[in-house]
């Protein structure tokens, strides 16, 4: 039994990839698609209320993206330490002005903040939209990073845009986000879903005979 326990420990240790902490609980819609989500994604999370959270992978990409945002919004000040810390973070969903404070918070405070946060502003009316800048700078920096990797002869995968939205969220909200991507000539998305059985598969096949 002890041997078995150790065997299992070893197995799980080797296969474990840490579940990335999620800013909000999202119940993804079910679908029959069994396509696995590709690696290297720009992830947009949208919860039931339509609040938007943003995440992109890679420490350097994130830090450079933040520096571009700092140039864009010079009124918000960051310390070098905060920029570094941001590089190692995951999804966030707040107004840019609140980001320095959010970075300094501990995990408990962040969770509490995420519960109350209205998400990243996406409202194009009145120029309040910040998500477009995140998307734009994130893509630019990711592309630069990927180019460097390629020049060094390392294998790279193309950046995919993944949308993880709650099944109960109003489609209107998702459309608003997709509209921002369309402005930047991005038309292809990976919609994250939970696999469901295909109840129609069997009858559909037999009906055809």
């Amino acid at each position: 039994m002890v041997d078995l326990a150790f065997l299992l420990v070893t197995f799980f240790m080797l296969t474990a990839t840490m579940r990335s902490p999620e800013p909000v609980l999202v119940d993804t819609p079910s679908s029959i698609s069994d396509v696995i989500l590709p690696k290297n994604t720009l992830l947009i999370t949208i919860d039931t209320a339509g609040r938007v959270f943003f995440n992109i992978e890679g420490k350097d990409v994130r830090m450079n993206m933040l520096r571009r945002m700092m140039n864009k919004f010079p009124e918000v000040k960051f310390t070098d330490e905060q920029v570094n810390k941001f590089g190692a973070m995951q999804s966030f969903g707040c107004n840019f002005a609140q980001l320095p404070e959010f970075i300094d918070d501990d995990q408990n405070k962040r969770d509490a903040f995420n519960k109350a946060s209205p998400g990243i502003p996406i409202d194009t009316v009145g120029g309040k939209d910040q998500l477009s800048f995140w998307i734009n700078f994130g893509r630019v920096e990711e592309f630069k990073f990927r180019k460097e990797q390629q020049d060094e002869g390392k294998p790279t995968t193309e950046l995919r845009i993944a949308i993880k939205a709650d099944g109960k969220a109003a489609y209107k909200k998702i459309d608003a986000v997709i509209a921002l991507f369309k402005k930047q000539d991005v038309y292809q998305f990976n919609l994250i879903t939970a696999l469901e059985g295909d109840p129609n598969a069997a009858p559909a096949a037999s009906a055809k005979k």
């Binding site: 698609s33 949208i46 919609l191 129609n200």
Partner: protein, 199 residues
Amino acid sequence: MADIQQQQSHRKGRRRSHLPVRVDMTPLVDLAFLLLTFFVLTSELSKQNAITTKFPKDVQPNTLVNNGLTILLGKNPENIFWYRGEFKPSMHLNVAGKGNQELLDVLKNANESVFEQVEIVDRQHNLGLLNYANWNKKRAEYLGNRSVPFVILKWDNETDYQSVVTAIDDLNRTHINKYAIVSVSDAEKELEKNQVPVK
């Protein structure tokens, strides 16, 4: 149980100790189980699935599509309206009620010939009668057929994300790869309101 007892040595020579050595394994086993529990809980057993969608550049909400199907996704996923071709204010909307199966049938009928062709090559490929290259080629040929209808999914303020994903699923399942997702027009909404709701 959780300890190791040293075997009595029967060597001739000098005996080092008379006492059997007892190694207590309990803390080790405890730790092993603790780690096991931790990794079981944190590991991701199922990878996330995703649908890949490609949206067309821009579709005006009132685009006229002759060889097309317009599907109105409303609040109630059990009650989906659809019509064929161009929109006329006096037209009668068809209802695909009772959940998902009916919409699937509507789409299957609209794309019947291509659907059957693709299903046949898929099955041949699955049975190993068709190699991958040929299968892909034939599939692309069938899917590029002009008779594949253009489907417009229309959403209103009450449509939830799940309904849209289910509809995209149905399109994928019936091999319709030309579709757009746009918001519903006022005229269509008006017409939808006048329809008798299905129970």
